[in-house]
Amino acid sequence: MKKFYLTPSWHMLIASSAAACVAVAAPGPPPAAVLPEVRADGDLDAQLDAARKRLEEAAHEVAQLSSQLSGSVIQQVMPFEPGHAIIGVQLEPATGTAGARVREVSPGGPAAEAGIHVGDVIVAVNGTELKGREPARQVVRIMRDVQPDATVQLRVLRDGKTRELSVTARPGPAVLASVHGLSDLGFGPFPEWHGALMLHGPLMDMELATLTPRLGSYFGSDQGVLVVRAPADGALKLEDGDVILAIDGRQPTSGSHATRILSSYQPGEKLTLRIIRQHKTLEVDATLPESMGRIRKDMMWREVAPRERTEPARRVLILGRDEA
C-alpha cells in the first residue's frame, strides 16, 4: 500500500493554520507571515532538539512533582474520598440574589472552557432553580450525582443578564492509595495521575493538531484531530497524516481533548480508533503500550468501592500485588 507522509507542504499548511489559530486566540498584532523553513546546520539542529527535549522533560518533572505534592495534601484532607466528576469552580453564597457566586474558576478546567467567569452567579443547574438558604451547597450536592463526561447546563447571571452555558464534567484525577515509604521500596518518581503513560511511554512524542476548516478540507473531514507525528514504534498503529475521528466512540474535539481521552487508558488496554487515512475511513484496533518507563510493573489499579451508593467507584494506584 502506498504510504502517506507529511511532506514539507503539509508542514507549511499546518504551520499557516497554526498561525491563524494564534491570531484568533490571542488578541493583538497579527503574527508575521510564515516563511519557508531555512535548513540550518545539522549539529545546531540536533543541539536545539536536545535543548527542547530537556526543557520538555523539566516541564514534565515539575508537573509530576507538583501533582504528587498536592495529591498528598488531598489525601491528608480527605483520605480515600471517592472521586467524582469535576467542573472546576469554587463557589460561595451570593449576596443580594438567590444563587451561588463563582469565587474562582480553575484555569483550563471545564467551567473555564465553557466560559464561566469569576463573579458569575449560578441560578440554576440542569433546569433546577437554586432556592433556599444554601444555594452553593445545593450546587455541590447536585454535582456529586453528575457522571464524568456528562453535560451540565448552568444558568448564570452576569451583569444583570441571564446566560445558559454547557459545562462538560471531567472525571476527577485518581488519588494515590499510599505515599508512605515509597522511596524505601525503590519506587522512583511516582506517576500519581492518570496521564503517566503519556509522560513516559512511547506516546509522549506524538504530535496532534486540531483540524481547522482549512486543514479539514484537505483531509475530507470537518472534525477530528490530525496526527502530525505518529507515536514511536508504531504504537496505536497510527501514521503521520491520519485523522482521528473517534477513540472508542469518544470524538476528540482538540489535541488537548484527544490527550485527555488517551490519558484515561491504562497500559495494555485495548481501544478502537476510527480514523481517516488517505480519504478512507477505517476502524483500527490497537493496544496501549505496556512500557511505562520508570513506573514499576507490579503497581496496579484497583476499583475502590464508594462509601455511599450514590458515589461512583474510583481507581487508585495500589502498591505491589502482595497488598492486593
Binding site: L44, L69, S70, G88, G109, L208, S254
Partner: protein, 182 residues
C-alpha cells in the same frame, strides 16, 4: 551571632521583601513580537546559511535565557516558601499564600491560547494533568468551605492550589517556548 548566619538571615529578609508578583520574563504578546521580529530578520537574509545558524542560535539563546530566568523565579519562590514541601503540612501557622501572585499567574495563563496549534502529547498530558488536579482542588475547596472545615484544611488546599497554578505556569511557558522553536 556567627557572621554567616547573620548574612543568611539578611538575605532571607531581603528576599521576603521582594514584591509578591514575580513578573514573567515576558508575556505572550511580547513573545509574538519577538517571534515576528526573528522571522522578519530571517526574510531579509533568506537562503543564507549564516542566517540559519543565527536563527537557531537565537532560538537556543531564548531557550537558554528563559530556562535561566525560570530557574531564577523558582529559586525566589522557593526562598519565599512558595515551593517548600513543608508548606503542604496542615499547620494553621503557615503563611497564607499571597492572592496577588496567584491572580497574576492566572491572568498570564488566561492570555495564552488554549493550546498550541501543534500539540506535543507528552507536554500536553502534563498540562491537562495539572489542570484537572487544580479543578479537583477547587471543587474540594468549595465543598470544604461550605462545610465550614477547619481553617488548616482550607489553608493546605489553598496552598496546594497555588503550587499547582505555579507549576502550570511553568509547564505552559516551557510548552510555548518549545512550540515556538519548532
Amino acid at each position: 551571632m556567627h557572621p554567616d548566619l547573620d548574612q543568611q538571615r539578611s538575605l532571607a529578609r531581603r528576599l521576603r521583601e521582594l514584591p509578591d508578583e514575580a513578573a514573567q520574563p515576558y508575556g505572550w504578546r511580547e513573545f509574538q513580537r519577538r517571534s515576528g521580529a526573528r522571522r522578519r530578520a530571517g526574510q531579509g537574509l533568506a537562503g543564507g546559511r549564516a542566517l540559519a545558524t543565527a536563527s537557531v542560535l537565537a532560538t537556543a539563546s531564548v531557550l537558554a535565557t528563559a530556562s535561566v530566568l525560570a530557574l531564577g523565579i523558582i529559586a525566589v519562590w522557593t526562598r519565599l516558601g512558595g515551593w517548600s514541601p513543608h508548606s503542604a503540612r496542615l499547620t494553621p501557622q503557615a503563611a497564607q499564600p499571597p492572592a496577588g501572585r496567584t491572580a497574576a499567574m492566572e491572568h498570564w495563563l488566561a492570555s495564552l491560547p488554549s493550546e498550541p496549534a501543534v500539540v506535543h502529547v507528552g507536554t500536553r498530558a502534563a498540562v491537562t494533568g495539572l489542570e484537572d488536579r487544580i479543578a479537583q482542588v477547587d471543587d474540594l475547596l468549595s465543598a470544604e468551605r461550605l462545610d465550614e472545615a477547619h481553617p488548616a484544611r482550607l489553608l493546605a488546599l489553598q496552598q496546594a492550589r497555588t503550587r499547582l497554578v505555579g507549576a502550570l505556569v511553568q509547564v505552559r511557558y516551557a510548552e510555548t517556548l518549545a512550540d515556538e522553536s519548532r
